[in-house]
Symmetry: D2
Subunit: 483 residues, 4 copies
């Protein structure tokens, strides 16, 4: 088949009918009709449509090695620097469509799966079948443009250990509780499957963990499943959609990616979807040797950049409409945002300039610069929101709605809320956008999402520090100097 | 009469029927029934009720010099350090009821009016009648426990100057457009009357400004009016009330103080409510010589403290429920919050220890420490919210609602969302509170409010720097050392 | 005897003839003649002289309970809040003389010894003799106005554990290597005895440590010794004295407190100077139950304040001489310094207002506010130095010397280096002071000293967090709110 | 002639005999013998020698278009991206020799002069002779490998305006006070000619300024002069050379670049050395249209990078010798330094990738990324020094000298000051290096130098903001989104 379009995406989700709970109710109708999901699904659909548009198709697809049909370029395993550039162009096209506000635009998971697939040989250490499973799964997803999500992290409760009557120990951590000839039976829960219910499939991959006793490691796994197996329950957080009006809620009406607690209540995962069975060292190796954190960081930095550019654009517009570009403390704040944008852009370019091949034949971007971005962005992003608040000030509080402009008070609004060369209605629209970014529930969830995207600060610091390539060179330079 | 109770408060607001616009509609019913106002009004009513409760009455009232009836202690002009202590105790009682989340609990405006009244003699410079008006107004408010709000700032549009056909200039700035024997006629608009429509009265007091041409200063004013004069239109921002459930929205269901654009469309203000007529130097003097910024800072710091203590309490509970008190980076963050709380408490105590009388007979707290708090809090408060996000992490994203606990998925929630020694439902409740503080629309508006309470950072820095009492002492110490 | 004067101080040091090594040489002559020590000793002497001056004597001394002679007030065990005030006044008098630049003005160690002495009863747990030793030592120091220093910390090498031929373990950590009837024999080294060689006596008190194997804890100790016992070797760091000119080096010519590595090479410590023998739990208890960290923090915050006030005075003078008080970014920086000064002053006042008695009868200042200061100052102080650099700019680089003003180029200097209402020579003098504070070797060592005074940031954070009194109150407030 | 070598450099400086004042004395002997200059001159000589070494010659020189002899590559006007790369390699070779500690290694001024020369045509607006002068001067410097310095900024005193008896105004600002057929006569002073007296020539170029009354602009200029014209007086600041020992003072013994006040007391500047005469608009244009701030930023970022790499190397060595790489707060700090290093490297690479030609035929690196570095580095550099202090702690205080290791106390030092796998002497050497960087007078002056290299923060922010190329693109993206 190859690339899908937007309506195919919507139909597939609507037909899968996963068990979804939101605000005390099970959602029975079509997700694409539900106010918590329809805006996001419409946006996601428009991304898939882009792939089919003449203007973009060349830049967004390549020929399937299996069928020759066009498939999504983010599935492409890069083997040259030019491939990296093509991937970047493709990912930036989507990024500039959703302005970096969709953490899970499809290229993210496509890239992740591509990375895992490059290292599929690793899995033969257990059995050639697992390698086979992973290669098949990758091909299936690429050829059908499958929409995926993933979960890695388990809830805090998974860490609690209970002693059983027979003296053995048990935990709530997710684990294989049974195996049979159909597959493995899994019990447990994972946190924050972002866009879990608006994706066809879920990749489940707990990292090495101290939660399970060592003797229980046999019970760990890596697998992928459709979103509607018996026993899978999706429990949603509060929806951050403010409403359908794109004037009043320009972001949450389009980009609200639901996060869910996904419960596996004795779910049978068929063998052909199992990639690691009872070997958490191998599970970990799949992360590190596939360069998962580098390949996905390449996708993520493209998103960071479009998002930061969008925020900078918002701030520049605010500064113009408030006529304050000559105030040194405003110049200072905008310059700081420019610094952040230019830094991210430079890290991306440099990751490609300094890319090098790995043993699987992939051209891997330079992790030093990408992981630098991963340490930076969780600090930069909240700071950029803070700058929006500091510049927007009362303009972010005094936000009437679009409907107010259709009443008899419209003349007051038009008189008193006008900006510098900007009509009141346009200024209110701009400041509502700035408000949603910086000061709304939608904005708050985005801030949390970015703060923890690749782990907390200890995790990303450690990854950068321990993976840093130039330690010896710089240490020796000092030692030579001291000789 | 003297102090009122909660139901009196509600009735008066409901009967005044101001012209209020919200989300494209004029509100025609009772505000106390409207979902955007009822929670706040109920909380405000409970504050008024406290004054009448035996447990608090002594600490919250004093005998009216006019009638001997108990009146609100925040109306008391302090003449001794003990008065400052009494005022602090009273304000902290209210503060601990609303946990600092109501920027406009009634003691704020009561204190402001008390301060202005101490300097009423100033106004005789224009005419003794203005002094008389202010003294009467203060007495009226104190004796009737009137609920007030204020506006100082005008929208950006007030700065734009247009040339008229006759060569003269005009602006949208608020001004006196006519006078007659009933009073002055005012046209213009002011920003962000917080709790404007849930207060009986509005104090209108533009500071000296460059917006009006100098020759127009004759057109400036200070006055106070009820909320329902003909020509007054209140235009609301988006409401941040999430819903009525105090489990799901523990804060916005109780403390959401609406901000409004208040338009004066040729409003006739009766003479006895006019305090300054056409003299913006005098208007400014009323601010500075009444020690308005010091007296009100004394009230505000009490609120800062209860709010910071509440945030610290939230964080300590989160840390306990996550069992992370032994992580150095957590200890670092909690210690930082302790530093902020203890700093604010110390500044308050010191402002009283170092208080001194002014020429009006008021015992004025030490402005050096209070204005220090005014510089600090706009930086501290967002940082405390950031700490909540950094500690709360995914717990602030995975927020199901109270109703989810009444469905068949309850066992999953109870199993997987439990905390350390904390049942899942309680943990979710705690984290929803932390979420509303740090990451919701309600929380975003509170952050903006605190950032700009006493002006932007340039304003509060300048106030501290230019009002600082110890400059010469410290400069001379250095000069003596260098001699 | 009672209080001593400056020349007595100098004579005693000069006569004690400790073994001191500096820059590859053993110092054989009088320390008070040596350029690395004479300036500091002269300043220290002037502090002792102050106690004897009529202007200060009443405020700086009290009657010895033993002899009735005046003794130093920093030896006074406070039993009332008024005692705390008297102590504060005394400590501030010295502080304003050395502008907080002497971390080891005598009141610091006098206070430390006073604190330890209050808890002397504790030591009877081992033997009543140790209590007796400590009481005697305290009395000896108070009655003879003994100048003391202390060491707590050992060099990194003390952590290394070596296996011996017989299978046992050994370390370089300081320990008792022998005991005889004269006393204990100690071997090891301690870091950074500040003013060690310009003090009569040294208090040696390693905190509980993992460096010694648990079975070796019998080898730990607390004792005090004169600076010249056989086997004691003082090894100095680089001296930061720039020169004797108080114009060119206003600070290092007066306040340079030498730090030393003190080696105990099999030193015999007489029994009457031993306070803890082989019990590191007791050694630790002596710290905590004597409120050492609180009493000494009360002395230290007085110093923090005078130092910060001095820095603020320097900055205010710089701003005036550069005529830049109307620049918002300058106002911002100076306001930040005011915030720091006022915060520290408030924490001190509050620590006294909220003081409470302990079981030894001491009136102990509130540790919450003092330990807050201990967390703050290591961040504040380097920031204040940074502000000096940011404001001083090229003025801190272009620093000619006093002697340049006595040459034919004086007219150029006077023309081109003049400030706003400030003659060139005075401006250069001011900026040299600012340079020594912020940008010289002396200033660098002071910055390091303040960063680590009470331990690194993890240590002071942990102390504040675990010792915080109000945790339960604030946690309960949230819990009550959620009920 | 072409490139010179080190001894030629030294001889020329020694023979020029400028009038230099230091610490109240005129220096009469050879600078290369004077302790304040010899270390720096030796290092500078070694840079010139490198050009002549076989290992480097190809990468550091190119053929003179005039003579075909090898001339310094930093004189090369880049016309392709490859030229930029060649320039970068050359500048990095020198940078890695002096580890970024020489702000005025010769490539800095060579680059500046190259930039000015590209735009020499501009000067014909006044007279073709000025274009001719500049072209000749550039060629002269290139062909003779002339060592240059520059001054832009005048002392604060230049801003003071005095009224004269005849009612006209005068200032101390530098100006042309006379002209004759030999040249212009200049009077005034400039600040901080770094390496002024260890350079052959000085470029004098005051930017547009409000200091001179507008009618005096006729009196402004741009010129270049040798360091020894009659009337030129060089007045040195305090020397930061600690001593000649490269163990004790590894940096100041080699890299201390003296700053001077340069006074022009009625100096006659010959016409052929005058480039702008009485036209400060043109003087300003020469800055902007030559892309001076971009070309020189390309050189400067190469230095920033080698310096940051060196600091990182120091920190990594410290962490290893202290054995603390497993502490999260250490990992956090080192990671932050890695972030800074990788950010700077990425900005450099990107400035070349995105370079574009200007109208003079130069290939100009992308100013967006370079000016980003100029905003960042003044914040990064002091922070990196702070990290050295925070990690080095007591190790930066306890710094004995090399000579201490040659005495009888050596065994104590070797025992107690050893590090993890590092002998005491090597550890002390490393920490003395860290001390000189972070906490010495040399380090303080370097910090000040970096803080203000391209102007204060307002200046570099404004340059970035107003020169930013992408404003419209990002603003339009938001506007399109809102449509």
């Amino acid at each position: 088949m190859g690339i899908k379009n937007g309506s195919q995406y919507m139909q597939q989700i609507d037909h899968s009918k996963p068990e979804v709970w939101l605000q005390g109710q099970r959602i029975m109708g079509m997700l694409s009709n539900h106010k918590a999901f329809r805006g996001l699904m419409f946006t996601q659909a428009s991304l898939y449509d882009m792939q089919n548009e003449l203007e973009y198709k060349n830049r967004m697809t390549y020929s399937s090695p299996t069928t020759g049909n066009p498939v999504g370029l983010s599935f492409l395993q890069p083997t040259t620097k030019d491939d990296l550039l093509r991937r970047r162009v493709m990912m930036s096209l989507w990024g500039e469509r959703h302005h970096g506000l969709m953490g899970r635009s499809p290229d993210y998971m496509n890239t992740a799966l591509m990375a895992f697939n490059t290292a599929a040989d690793l899995l033969s250490e257990s059995s050639p079948e697992f390698t086979h499973n992973l290669r098949n799964y990758y091909e299936y997803c690429r050829e059908n443009d499958v929409t995926m999500s993933h979960v890695f992290v388990q809830p805090q409760s998974s860490r609690v250990v209970k002693m059983l009557d027979d003296g053995s120990f048990d935990t709530q951590a997710a684990k294989i509780v049974d195996k049979n000839k159909e597959g493995i039976v899994v019990n447990g829960a994972f946190l924050l499957a972002t866009q879990g219910v608006t994706a066809d499939e879920l990749w489940v991959h707990p990292p090495v963990t101290t939660y399970l006793q060592e003797t229980n490691n046999l019970n760990t796994f890596v697998f992928a499943v459709p979103n509607n197996l018996p026993g899978m329950k999706w429990i949603c957080r509060e929806s951050m959609v403010g409403g359908d009006s794109s004037f009043d809620y320009p972001l949450s009406s389009r980009f609200e990616e639901m996060d869910t607690l996904i419960v596996f209540d004795h779910v049978l995962v068929p063998w052909h979807r199992v990639f690691v069975d009872g070997n958490d060292r191998l599970s970990q190796k799949l992360f590190s040797e596939s360069a998962f954190h580098t390949h996905s960081a390449h996708q993520v930095i493209c998103r960071y950049i479009t998002k930061s550019e969008f925020l900078l654009g918002v701030v520049l517009n605010m500064v113009e409409s408030l006529d304050i570009a000559n105030h040194p403390h405003i110049v200072e704040k905008v310059s700081e945002m420019i610094v952040h944008v230019e830094t991210l852009k430079s890290l991306l370019i440099t990751s490609e300039v300094n890319a090098s091949p790995d043993r699987w034949g992939s051209m891997v971007p330079d992790r030093n610069s990408l992981w630098t971005a991963n340490v930076l962005f969780p600090k930069i992003y909240p700071r950029m929101l803070e700058i929006i608040q500091l510049i927007g000030a009362s303009g972010l509080i005094m936000i009437p709605s679009e409907s107010d402009f259709n009443t008899e008070i419209e003349p007051y609004l038009s008189t008193y809320l006008a900006g510098n060369n900007k009509e009141a209605k346009n200024k209110v629209q701009l400041f509502r956008l700035a408000w949603e970014l910086s000061s709304s529930g939608f904005g708050g969830r985005q801030a949390l999402y970015e703060r923890f995207f690749f782990g907390d600060s200890n995790t990303v610091n450690r990854r950068l520090f321990h993976g840093y390539s130039h330690k010896d060179k710089y240490m020796n330079r000092v030692n030579d100097f001291l000789k």
